[in-house]
């Protein structure tokens, strides 16, 4: 970990980027923002850790907990909402045993993430299964796709 952090720090010092860019780099490298990484940077840069946490919790792109191996993103933009995305979400949580108020299954295999709008409203409702975009999703299709991912596990 230290090595990666050194590299991010180095980029930071050369390009004079800001906290958001540092957090983006940490997130890209680890998949979430580990607490240790924040304290490491806080010490090196003499910036209070609270500023890092304040920024990280403000923006939805940053996660403070490790995320699942498979990431299922359900768009809940307006168009997707009126075409039934809420039902998709409810069913996924049930199917993948994700506790309420969490988004990742306890075995860290699945994360179900809701996103405000990915801008593909023409083919609503939209879900992204491990970066692959699927339009005009139905409950039936979704459950089949999830079973496919599960069987590949």
């Amino acid at each position: 970990m230290e090595k990666i952090l050194e590299k991010i720090l180095n980029d930071y010092q050369i390009n004079k980027v800001n906290i958001i860019s540092i957090l983006q780099d940490i997130e890209n490298n680890f998949g979430y923002i580990p607490e240790e990484a924040v304290f490491w940077f806080s010490k090196k840069l003499d910036i209070p850790a609270s500023r890092f946490f304040g920024t990280a919790t403000f923006y939805s792109q940053f996660h403070l907990k490790p995320r699942g191996k498979n990431i299922i993103t359900v768009c809940r933009g307006t168009a997707c909402h009126v075409k039934g995305s809420e039902r998709l979400i409810d069913r996924l949580f049930m199917e993948l045993d994700i506790p309420p108020d969490e988004e990742t299954s306890p075995d860290l295999k699945f994360t179900v993430e809701k996103v405000n709008c990915i801008g593909a409203c023409g083919i609503a409702p939209v879900t992204i299964l491990n970066k692959e975009v699927h339009g005009k999703m139905t409950l039936d299709k979704l459950i089949k796709e999830v079973k496919k991912i599960k069987s590949n596990e």
């Binding site: 403000f58 307006t78 168009a79 801008g119 083919i123």
Partner: protein, 592 residues
């Protein structure tokens, strides 16, 4: 055989999700096994979402032989062989797969200015942009126009901010020009956060050079040498395309020091947002570029006076900048005459929801809502009836059928209780619950409220709680009045646009669909049968033939019954997910 053959396949997000890549490779295979020479390109790799705007008909394929274009719709990989054999080899188009009237109706009432290049040119190649007249406007501005002249043209074009508020662009630029400062900034706001809107994304991905050219002209007009494009985290392809475009511009001498051979320098950088709706608000966006939490600051000064790092800053939306090169080239009169007296030009809208032809459209301002929904959009999906049009995202409102003949511009939409906003239009039909829709938007604004000012932070939360109460069957007399009171206070006292407009979805649905609220509260019924706690699913025994499809589909094992005899749903176990309703082919399951 001496033919000039070109094949264009839509491979955007819409296209790919519908199998665009597979169609493309099927064409490639056919071509290479026949030993033909053909140009093949992914029309909409340009353009992951917008395509030619008509996502509902994906995968769209153009076959162009000696300049004659045939467009096919709904193409699947296994259909390619026949098109190849009959059309490309023998010259007889496969008529039953060709796009029909709807495709032309979709395009006929549109006027493409901002979208004219989208889906037509390769956005990753600066030469493709130059070939269609790109950077001529910027060169003209640098060679023969003074900053005052540029500002005058933009002012008299009547162009107004396309981000939603509609502030006259020319006046903003004039302020930027007049103020004296050692450093000034130009910022492009690409933080398109409204759910249900994807215009800016399509422009950034499909025609990034037009945005950059508009910014270069703005830099010249306001005497600014530094620029930022703020792009939303959720739009990685837009970031990639813009970065490529910036690099190509630097190589061509259109950005950097001494641009177009003059001693004027303009340096442009991309800043990637990190996922916060409020950052679309100008002051919050600037705080975000400064690396802080994106919280709005009171507008004691205009950004043109004190913006990014307290320096004068001109901030415009993506679509606004993309209009500029066309205005400079074709003149202010041309643009002004496209629109209404109050607002010039065209506007891009993303049309989605329960409408047949979903996609990206561009129309002159002044067109009616009816034209958009019923001519371009082709009417409501599945023979249902129109209920409302939601415009302006979470800051906007719902417009009922009686106002369908409203002409679209900033003022007229405000008059009927909604806003133009950035351009999202979501069509709702009789199966949409207006209380649920209002709750949906409140959930959104409540979650996205930055928390800085009390009316927005606490007010939206209280409004949401009331709506949750109503939709779960626990609404009380007086709730409607309380919602109205809260709404008016939040609108009057919030710090920024997010809070000021947050009550709009609730207030506008209360204005036009009050009876739906009343049924939820008094009768504990959801007229559109959407709100889960207020509906029950049951089986019509006289129709049910006991096929068992619902029983197999039910994830909660709530369906009882023997094969070939009518089934029954156990209301104690039913989770109201609606899976059985979808699974029944005989319409034997009802929800009330």
């Amino acid at each position: 055989m001496n033919k000039d053959i070109a094949i264009k396949v839509c491979a955007g997000t819409g296209g790919v999700a519908s199998g665009g890549e597979e169609v493309l490779s099927a064409f490639r295979n056919s071509i290479s096994s026949a030993g033909l020479e053909a140009t093949i390109y992914e029309k909409c790799s340009a353009h992951r979402v917008g395509c030619r705007g008509f996502c509902a008909k994906d995968v769209l394929v153009d076959v162009i032989i000696n300049g004659e274009k045939t467009t096919y719709k709904h193409i699947k990989p296994d259909m390619v062989a026949r098109i190849f054999d009959e059309h490309i080899m023998k010259g007889n188009p496969v008529t039953e797969w060709i796009v029909g009237e709807a495709y032309f109706n979709f395009h006929n009432k549109q006027t493409k200015v901002v979208l004219s290049h989208c889906g037509e040119i390769d956005p990753e190649d600066i030469n493709a942009y130059i070939a269609v007249g790109g950077y001529k406007a910027a060169k003209k501005a640098f060679a023969s126009m003074s900053p005052e002249e540029i500002v005058d043209v933009v002012k008299s074009s009547n162009l107004r901010g396309r981000g939603g508020a509609g502030f006259p662009t020319g006046i903003k630029w004039e302020l930027g020009l007049r103020i004296e400062s050692d450093i000034k900034y130009v910022i492009c706001n690409g933080d398109e956060g409204d759910p249900g809107a994807f215009m800016d994304r399509s422009v950034m991905e499909g025609d990034p050079h037009a945005v950059i050219e508009g910014m270069i002209i703005c830099a010249k007009a306001t005497g600014s040498h530094h620029g930022y494009i703020y792009v939303r985290a959720e739009y990685p392809l837009a970031v990639k395309r813009l970065q490529m475009a910036i690099d190509q511009c630097k190589q061509s001498g259109f950005l950097g020091n001494n641009i177009f051979g003059t001693d004027f320098g303009f340096d442009l950088k991309i800043f990637q947002g990190a996922g916060a709706f409020v950052c679309g608000e100008a002051t919050a966006l600037m705080r975000s570029i400064e690396g802080k939490r994106g919280m709005p600051t009171p507008k004691l000064w205009r950004s043109a006076e004190k913006g990014l790092w307290d320096k004068p800053t001109v901030l415009n939306n993506v679509e606004t900048f993309a209009n500029i090169p066309r205005i400079i080239m074709n003149g202010a009169n041309w643009y002004r005459n496209l629109g209404t007296d109050r607002s010039g030009g065209t506007k891009v809208f993303s049309l989605s929801g329960k409408v047949k032809n979903t996609g990206l459209i561009e129309v002159p301002l002044g067109v009616t809502l009816r034209d958009i929904i019923f001519d371009i959009g082709g009417g409501i999906e599945g023979e249902k009836s129109f209920k409302a049009l939601q415009t302006g995202g979470p800051s906007g409102g719902c417009i009922p059928a009686e106002f369908l003949d409203t002409e679209v511009d900033y003022e007229s939409l405000a008059q009927v209780g909604s806003i133009m906003g950035s351009g999202g239009m979501v069509v709702l039909d009789e199966t949409s619950c207006m209380v649920n829709t209002a709750k949906f938007f409140l959930e959104f604004t409540q979650a996205e409220s930055c928390g800085k000012c009390t009316p927005c932070r606490i007010g939206t939360k209280r409004m949401l709680e009331i709506l949750e109460r109503i939709t779960s069957g626990n609404g009380k007399e007086g709730d409607i009045e309380l919602l109205e009171e809260l709404g008016h206070h939040i609108r009057a006292t919030s710090l920024c646009g997010l809070g000021m407009t947050a009550p709009n979805p609730v207030l506008s649905t209360l204005r036009y669909f009050r009876n739906e609220y009343e049924s939820h509260i008094r009768d504990k019924k959801c007229p559109a049968a959407v709100c889960k706690d207020l509906i029950t699913y049951s089986v019509l025994e006289e129709i049910c033939n006991g096929c068992g499809a619902c029983k197999r589909a039910c994830p909660a094992d709530a369906v009882r019954g023997k094969r070939k005899s009518p089934h029954r749903i156990d209301p104690e176990i039913c989770i109201k997910c609606g899976t059985c309703f979808d699974a029944c082919k005989f319409k034997a399951i009802i929800k009330i």
